[in-house]
């Protein structure tokens, strides 16, 4: 969208800016004293109006040579070339116009007296054209920063929403009620174990509550949250859960979004293990790959399990949060593969900045 042509008010304002320029050009034309003031004005007014429109074309050459993505030589060539062509055409038009004025009889000999002013007109044209180019670049920069700000706002709103959703999903009613039911069972049969489970559950809940306020946490912390979660689930499912973890020690201090992996492990339990009579494995594989952190959560599952009674908001949520935080630098995929279900994610490994 052309910044000036897109709105009639902007165009009028732009033409208004050209009024003092017109006055200036007229003044310059009288400087050598060969042209009278009236002649200068009659020459300058239509010529400047014409050039005002010629300069509008500069926007398009700015658009194709953005400052941050083009080399200096390309930028200089594009705009100096543009200035020469625009001014050249303008000068030709000026010559033709002065001839026309002379021939009309109203200003006899004006064309001859105008001729020596042509170089000055050319220089003025080039400067005005380049000035318009500078204006367009400033405008583009301004728009870009406004865009970037809007994008950042949107990303942070999304991240906040995702966090809230994650937290809501966190204190998953299913998980909570089933755990309480397990405790209820244990109070008579095994009071020791019941107390232990109360403590495990309390530990897990306290950790999740603390995490909501942080934008990132060390992977280590996320892992210990997962361990707290699994400790509770292991009381409920007993030997049905077999957890296998392979974690690259280099990954432990990578900063990750809080509650990013825990929902994936929770999914593996509720959609995988819970549907298997004999239970099954969950594999967590974390590696540093170049500058990225690569994570896979796999679980055994029954392809013939009863249909889910809960929609899989967990996975969508994780995808959104990754996207909001890392944009296109993160990848996320999930797919069933025979009797196993695999979720894979990769994102830039950011490490904690040491406080000075």
């Amino acid at each position: 969208m052309h910044p000036i042509l897109s709105k009639i008010r902007r165009l009028l304002l732009y033409l208004l800016v050209w009024e003092p320029i017109t006055a200036l050009v007229a003044y310059l034309l009288t400087a050598t004293g060969k042209l009278s003031g009236r002649e200068a004005v009659v020459l300058a007014m239509p010529l400047c109006l014409l050039f005002a429109f010629v300069c509008l074309s500069g926007w398009y050459s700015c658009r194709v040579t953005p400052l941050d993505k083009s080399s200096l030589s390309k930028i200089v060539t594009a705009h100096v070339g543009g200035a020469m062509v625009a001014t050249g055409l303008w000068v030709i038009a000026a010559r033709w116009y002065s001839h026309a004025l002379a021939r009309s009889g109203a200003f006899p000999g004006i064309d001859d007296r105008f001729l020596p002013e042509i170089p000055l007109l050319g220089v003025t044209g080039i400067l005005l054209y380049l000035l318009s180019i500078a204006f367009y670049y400033v405008y583009m920069q301004f728009e870009a920063s406004k865009d970037a700000e809007a994008r950042m706002m949107k990303a942070s709103v999304l991240a906040r929403e995702a966090e809230l959703k994650a937290l809501k999903a966190q204190v998953n009613p299913h998980f909570l009620f089933n755990s309480l039911n397990s405790i209820s069972a244990l109070t008579t049969s095994n009071p020791e174990k019941a107390r232990e489970m109360c403590i495990l559950l309390g530990d897990f809940l306290r950790r999740t509550l603390g995490l909501g306020e942080k934008s990132t946490i060390r992977l280590e912390e996320e892992l210990s949250l997962i361990h707290a979660f699994l400790a509770v689930e292991k009381v409920r499912f007993g030997a049905r859960i077999q957890m296998e973890e392979t974690v690259d020690p280099k990954a432990l201090n990578v900063m990750v979004l809080p509650l990013l992996l825990q929902p994936l492990v929770e999914n593996a339990v509720s959609h995988g293990i819970a549907n298997l009579v004999e239970g099954g494995w969950i594999r967590l594989l974390i590696e540093c790959k170049g500058s990225d952190l690569s994570i896979a959560v796999e679980n055994k599952f029954d392809p013939d399990a009863p249909p889910r009674r809960k929609s899989g908001v967990g996975l969508v949520n994780v995808r959104q949060r990754l996207k909001a935080r890392y944009g296109n630098l993160a990848t996320f995929s999930y797919a069933p593969d025979g009797e196993s279900f695999r979720v894979a994610l990769k994102f830039p490994a950011e490490r904690e900045v040491q406080a000075a």
Binding site: P173, S184, A274, V277, P306, P307, R309
Partner: protein, 261 residues
């Protein structure tokens, strides 16, 4: 079946839950009632259906989320003979469905009061008033239909032959045919009977994939190869399996509308 006076007959009960501890709670509460006898414990839906068919219990405590078959699928397969008390942790749609159909249910964790209350209601149902009360009981298929999340269509159908359970993914269903109180489900060259009305099946299936082409028939649109005129005013749909399904006049215009798109 009325027991001779003086001799109290025990209530034969099966408990179904995939979690050890959850079964343990039930067992603990049940053993406080001498009139109840646990005759079996099951950890998944298949076992539950088999046990109910073989043992014909009076009462069933049934978890909803289980491996293999969920609680509603179990209910659909065992009919209305057994009194069922659902036991579940949290499932907003299911709880709403229970409320609407006045089914006994326990929400985990539950205490002795709530357990005893549900048990009393089940006993009333089992006692002399059983005949009258079972009339009030919802059809299992209606109950499970209203426990589905809105806009969620059936993607598999559980059927039973004796004590054996078969799962038919709806993609493999060729057509369904009404037969009195049953529907016959044709899939992969076999026919399975299920106690359900064709209308309730129609409502549970995705209308974009299944069409009621006749008072007694629903077809899987993906399986329709062509439609041929049959007699005056009537047509047949020829399926990829070779089956020919009668199509009524109104069914024909609906079918045309979809196939012409």
């Amino acid at each position: 079946m009325s027991a001779p006076a003086g001799e109290t007959k025990k209530i034969r009960t099966i408990i179904v839950d995939d979690e050890d501890l959850a079964r343990q709670v039930l067992r603990e509460f049940i053993t406080k009632h001498a009139e109840i006898e646990i005759i079996a414990e099951c950890a998944n839906g298949f076992e539950a259906v088999k046990a109910v068919m073989e043992l014909k219990p009076d009462l069933l405590f049934l978890d909803i989320q289980m491996p293999k078959l969920d609680g509603f699928e179990v209910l659909e397969l065992i009919g209305n003979e057994t009194a069922v008390i659902f036991v579940t942790a949290y499932d907003s749609y299911a709880i709403k469905a229970f409320g609407v159909h006045a089914v006994d249910y326990l929400l985990k964790p539950y205490g002795a009061d709530r357990f005893n209350g549900a048990l009393e209601r089940a006993k009333e149902r089992l006692s002399g008033k059983a005949g009258k009360n079972s009339q009030e009981l919802p059809l299992p298929t209606d109950l499970s239909a209203s426990a589905r999340a809105p806009l969620q269509h059936l993607d598999r159908i559980a059927v039973r032959d004796g004590t054996k359970v078969f799962i038919i993914p709806v993609a493999k269903l060729d057509y369904a045919e009404a037969q009195d109180d049953y529907v016959a489900l044709a899939s992969e060259g076999k026919k399975h009977l299920k106690q359900q009305t064709i209308s309730s099946l129609e409502q549970a299936l995705d209308p974009a994939r299944f069409l009621r082409v006749h008072r007694s028939y629903i077809v899987n649109l993906e399986k329709v190869v062509r439609v041929e005129p049959y007699a005056k005013d009537s047509h047949v749909a020829v399926l990829s399996s070779g089956s020919q399904i009668p199509v009524s006049r109104s069914g024909y215009s609906r079918l045309r509308e979809i196939l012409d798109k």
